[in-house]
Symmetry: C2
Subunit: 218 residues, 2 copies
């Protein structure tokens, strides 16, 4: 039986399941039990069964799960059988790295355009895609109908451009800026990547580990 609304905690585990199942498949696994998978992933078997049962029963009692079938199903849940057309805003260091480093097509997307304001990069190619001047954005969107955008521009630029992007029909954002889209724009899908925050959390971990050490010593 499949639930209607899936909790965020479950959703955030799905890509990791998908990855592990892919590795198992590559290593020749045909079936796997929730217990075995739980040991490999550092979860409980209960949680794994609960998670998959949000979407309906993919397993078989007494047998376990068929690895490639389960992976395929998780892929479908994640929308990886689709190819959402996507543009990249900002071809600076970070934008360039994202464009070349990310395997968009295996994540449910197709990168179809890159935009920047800097005349130094406009006209150049990143991978197979030319960097266009931002003045071409409207025409490009009318013609190619991108549905999602990666925001690798400075925060001020993001604040300025966001309304245009929404006007042009883009309503999903992979946001590398600190601009808080979801507070200002309610009907928009946002996945934030706060790289700085992530590093800050490592700083916390290091420092709280050191403090613990000091306490033990004294």
């Amino acid at each position: 039986m499949s639930k209607n609304v899936i909790s965020n905690s479950v959703i955030r585990r799905l890509p990791r399941y998908y990855r592990f199942l892919g590795e198992l498949e590559e290593n020749g696994y045909v079936r796997i039990s929730s217990r075995e998978l739980s040991e490999k992933m550092g979860l409980t078997a209960s949680q794994i069964r609960q998670d998959f049962n949000c979407f309906g029963g993919f397993g078989q009692q007494g047998y376990g799960y068929n690895v490639s079938e389960l992976r395929r199903q998780v892929g479908i849940i994640l929308g990886l059988d689709k190819k959402t057309p996507l543009i990249l805003m900002g071809a600076g260091n970070l934008g360039k790295a994202i464009a070349t480093h990310i395997d968009f097509s295996n994540r449910g997307f197709e990168l179809i355009g890159i935009f920047d304001v800097n005349p130094e990069v406009v006209g150049k190619q990143i991978g197979k895609i030319p960097v266009r001047d931002i003045s071409e954005l409207e025409n490009f969107c009318t013609e190619n109908k991108p549905q999602a955008a990666v925001l690798c521009v400075p925060q001020e630029a993001a604040e300025k451009e966001i309304n245009r992007l929404i006007d042009y029909g883009i309503n999903a954002f992979w946001n590398f800026t600190h601009y808080d889209l979801s507070i200002s724009h309610e009907n928009v899908l946002v996945e934030n990547v706060h790289l700085g925050d992530s590093l800050t959390i490592l700083s916390y971990a290091i420092n709280s580990a050191e403090k613990e050490q000091e306490n033990e010593d004294s």
Copy 2:
């Protein structure tokens, strides 16, 4: 009263508090109540008070919180008054972007070295830091004692190099690979950045929003 062990959920909110408090400070706020802050951040006032009280009372009844003092305290909790020496492994597109894009010194770190295997990049500079050949790693670590490393190498390289890094005294990792450090190496601090997983979650959001739409239509 300050608790000994802080839950992960609280810790992951701290960098965001720190950011918002910084913006408030810049905008001339001297004091702020938990209610006002909660509205700006999209949280509940209760949660904000609970969070800060994990570390002791930073507020004043009837008044609220002093913005810059609270920010300073959160900074100390996050270890941002320290400068942990850090090296970057891998000077490809992603490594280069991280080296230039991240404000390490405001995140509690100092980037002191960059290493790669590719002779094309070894010897070049990224920002002010030369890219060193990985053969120099041991000497460099003995001399400069980095305590943390950013992993921007391919997954196989990470699996190979990780034990050396630990041997050389590095025990904290900002991990951009999919290699699961925390499962194989228990006494190590890891903050994972799974960019691909993050994009996959956006794919899920787009596709499940579309399915909902279809259900409403029918």
